[in-house]
């Protein structure tokens, strides 16, 4: 057995640290009498979350479910498929890859308003921004993964006289999975940021980004922090979810093996 830290160390320790930070934050704000508009105490943020659960829920559905996750799904599938195509056809590697590279360098603050003009104010334009943002990390990581097999492994398939499709499904795709999941982990975080920021450039009267920008204007800082808390929690859970699937799919990888 490898030395796995106990459950207490793995969950209890970070939880304890988090609670300590919250307690110190509360004491700091109350003790120094910090104005609410500068930094609300955790208790006030919690009160805002309880008070506005309905609004937070509507915003969450709009931004996370519709904007971020739809965009992540479409972008990830598109990046993956593009990687397979580029890998197969050298013509595309020379032609498409530089273009994808170029698109990846586009600043999100420039892309977002254009997407709003193209796809309207609602979540579709936010999903489009997310697609643009996550496409490239998935594409590049999948391509790197498809190139990750060594010569002996490919020679082995050759001695079996395996077809391209067989080599792909039985060797190269499984070998690429650790790379694909690296891309997915990067993309999961990017998707949330993209969907929130895109709402600054036009949205219906709901959504986490919309709420943050309007509440800042109304000095409703506790509500801003409530949205931040929800988004941070969502990002952590989303990332953790990807890590769980990764552990399940790439259990064989040296970084994932536990014990014997």
């Amino acid at each position: 057995m490898t030395g796995q830290p106990s459950l207490f160390l793995r969950i209890g320790l970070p939880l304890g640290f988090g609670i300590a930070v919250l307690v110190l934050w509360e004491l700091f704000v109350v003790g120094f009498n910090i104005p609410r508009a500068i930094l609300p105490a955790p208790s006030e943020i919690w009160a805002a979350i309880q008070r506005s659960t309905a609004i937070l829920w509507v915003d969450w559905v709009q931004t996370v479910l519709k904007g971020a996750l739809t965009g992540l799904l479409i972008g990830a599938v598109a990046g993956f498929v593009a990687a397979l195509a580029i890998d197969r056809v050298d013509f595309l590697r020379r032609g498409l890859l530089p273009v994808a590279n170029f698109v990846a360098a586009l600043p999100i603050v420039g892309v977002a308003p254009i997407m709003v003009m193209w796809f309207g104010f609602d979540w579709q334009s936010k999903a489009a921004v997310v697609v643009v943002m996550v496409f490239f990390p998935i594409l590049v990581n999948t391509l790197a993964g498809l190139a990750a097999t060594d010569r002996m492994q490919r020679d082995l398939m050759r001695t079996y006289s395996a077809s391209h499709a067989q080599t792909l499904t039985k060797l190269r795709l499984p070998a690429a999975m650790p790379f694909v999941f690296n891309g997915l982990k990067i993309s999961a975080t990017l998707a949330l940021i993209g969907a929130i920021v895109a709402e600054y450039f036009g949205s219906p009267t709901k959504g986490m980004g919309f709420r943050i920008s309007t509440e800042v204007g109304r000095l409703g800082i506790d509500m801003v922090w409530a949205e931040i808390a929800v988004s941070a929690l969502t990002g952590t859970v989303l990332y953790g979810f990807v890590v769980l699937i990764e552990r399940w799919v790439t259990f064989w990888h040296p970084s994932q093996r536990r014990g014997r």
Partner: protein, 260 residues
Amino acid sequence: MNRSVISASDLSLTFQTNDGPVHALKDVSLDIHKGDFVSFIGPSGCGKTTFLRVMADLEHPTGGSITVNGVSAAEARRNRAYGYVFQAAGLYPWRTIGGNIRLPLEIMGYSKADQAERVARVLELVELDGFEKKFPWQLSGGMQQRASIARALAFDADILLMDEPFGALDEIVRDHLNEQLLALWRRTEKTIAFVTHSIPEAVYLSTKIVVMSPRPGRISDVIDSPLPKERPLEIRDTPEFIEIAHRVRDGLRAGHGYDD
């Protein structure tokens, strides 16, 4: 009975490198008969691995001709005429031992029932029964190499090409695997081409020893072994064995000693 299984005549292979052409093989002619156990021995750079790879259609000769089972090496590969065992086991870590042995069977389209029956049979042949559901990284190096031999035996190829399969293993494990390999060869009556850099290994295993020398890679001696098919490990202490070993060593020296 004395049918020629692999036949090379005036085989040459020149690699073009930045430092000019490298003659990996020059005018190599050799006949391997059905049921032979042929070892290729020589210093690094003598072309023994290249020769094996040419038989397997993993390298293409630049001169001369080679036939395997009476057809070109490329056609023999497409007919799945041989099993190839590499220097490293090269098992896929995402597949169990059983899954790895099943790999060529899946590619070649054997039925599910046939696959299961064959996996069980070859696992027993290499004394790995009971390890079918283990993953490669849960096994020792010697066991992994045995699994890779089982993988090469799983389908009906009459020829076994082995490229220093035991080179990375310690001597005790190697002795044991050599014994097992001989027993397996007697039982299956396969034709085996075996690359090694160990004189005792070559003499112990082979019915025919091909001594090669480098720059350019060529055959300097072919020794037909008078040793019986039945060979206990103690045979290595007999005068006949030592005499053949001497002749191999002389052959190696003659082809070597002028520049290093």
